[in-house]
């Protein structure tokens, strides 16, 4: 039923996807401290249809909130691969762009877009709730224009992503079944 025919049906689907983004409850970095104020009463991201999702299966948006230790990167990649197709990644803070404050630490990754496709970057050393909401609005615009095809990008150049991941993990790579499960109908 969910064929990919571009056209009105897809446009309506994008409209629905834009207005109901479920955020995965996963505080990967120190930016996670600005997620509660954004989701609770003072800034209330639920006005935009944002709702917390407990598991990757239910989530649409994975928020990488700051730096990523290599141990966390492995779990993030596995979580990202378990999420279902129209999935987006919002990268908060300078640590995801060029290493941030921990640029010289042996345990954090420097450029997030080497490992998973990222839709929107938000500047800030821990962006404020307003900046996060601005990031979400930018993500919504990108979804509406149908450009938020992170999953397709991941599938198409999977070798490049896996090569970068292998550089970090060495031979402790994730099992293959995490990303090429039959994906359902």
């Amino acid at each position: 039923m969910c064929t990919d025919n571009p056209g009105v049906w897809e446009y309506i689907a994008n409209w629905a996807r834009k207005h109901s983004i479920w955020v995965l409850a996963y505080g990967t970095g120190c930016g996670a401290i600005e997620m509660p104020p954004t989701m609770t009463s003072r800034y209330d991201a639920e006005r935009f249809g944002l709702r917390g999702a407990a598991t990757p299966r239910q989530a649409d948006l994975l928020i990488i909130s700051g730096y990523l230790a290599t141990k966390t990167l492995k779990r993030v990649i596995r979580t990202y691969e378990q999420m279902y197709d129209p999935k987006y990644v919002l990268a908060l803070g300078s640590c995801t762009i060029n290493g941030g404050m921990y640029w010289d630490s042996y345990n954090t990754i420097k450029k997030l877009d080497l490992y998973i496709p990222v839709d929107v970057y938000v500047a800030g050393c821990m962006p404020r709730p307003e900046a996060i909401i601005e990031g979400i609005i930018a993500l919504q615009k990108r979804i509406e224009e149908g450009r938020a095809e992170g999953a397709k990008k991941y599938r198409e150049n999977i070798e490049w992503y896996k090569k970068n991941q292998r550089e970090v993990f060495g031979d402790e790579m994730l099992p293959d079944y995490t990303w090429n499960f039959e994906g359902g109908i």
Binding site: R57, Q58, Y84
Partner: protein
Amino acid sequence: MSTGMRIVDIIAYPFIAFLIGMLYMGIARNIIGRIHRRWGPPVLQNLIDVFKLYRKREAGSHGVMFHLGPIIMVTGVVTCLYFIPMLSDGRWLKGFSFDGDLILVTYLMVLGALGMALGVGQGGVPFGVMGVTRGLTRLIGLEIPYFIAIIVLMAHYNTASINKIIELQAGGLSNWAMFKVPLAFIASLFSFWGMMGASPFDIPGAPQEVASGPATEFGGKYLALMMSSRGIFGFLKLTLWVDLFMGGAANLLILVGKTFVLFVTVLFVTSVYSRFKVEQAVDFMWRYPTIIGLIALVIEMVR
């Protein structure tokens, strides 16, 4: 009622329940939002969510049973819905009421949960399995006061047909079953909150403990099925309780009015209480609501 109109009536039945159910969940998120001192999402948010979930491109499936689980859940709920008359008089939305349908409805309500259990079993996620076991144990706790309440009702009106009960309650506020057998109503109210997933009893899907319980592994369109079935199931119980205790509804407006009042009580309870553990919930249910139910039963027998 020509066959054409009956077909329309049959088809319209679940969709009305779905729409009103989803609308209630949207309004619920707004009311709870106000209690949280925030604005809350637009009212149609749940409909948008369900539509988005249907339009997900992927939905991982772990085999046939996993695929059938949500379908059984929805069919269970919809068949149960058919046996509950939404509007008591008038030609529309009467459903297939017959003599013993109160007992049939009670049985069918459990069918959805069982179907879900099979699907989750196939999925193999420990959280899912734990969620289901919690759900079933909680069900045991909730069923007792509900059964007692129904027995009291049947004894009071000595009939097992929902339609008759509605008719017997006709004529003004005073002879609503709610006031006729108040203790039974209170006992059934506890199990009603439990089944609606109000806070002290929303144990199966507790995110902090078992990562959304049974729904852990379900994504995409399966989750959409589950959400819509939860919407219909919510409305189903509301109409059931309205029919049994609040004199049914003549037309759609009264139905919506009465169900909404009942629904608001669920919201108040869910937003102010923490969550029981499973054994605490069952223990609580077997203590106070059961006692109230038994007292109602005794009163009934004495009368």
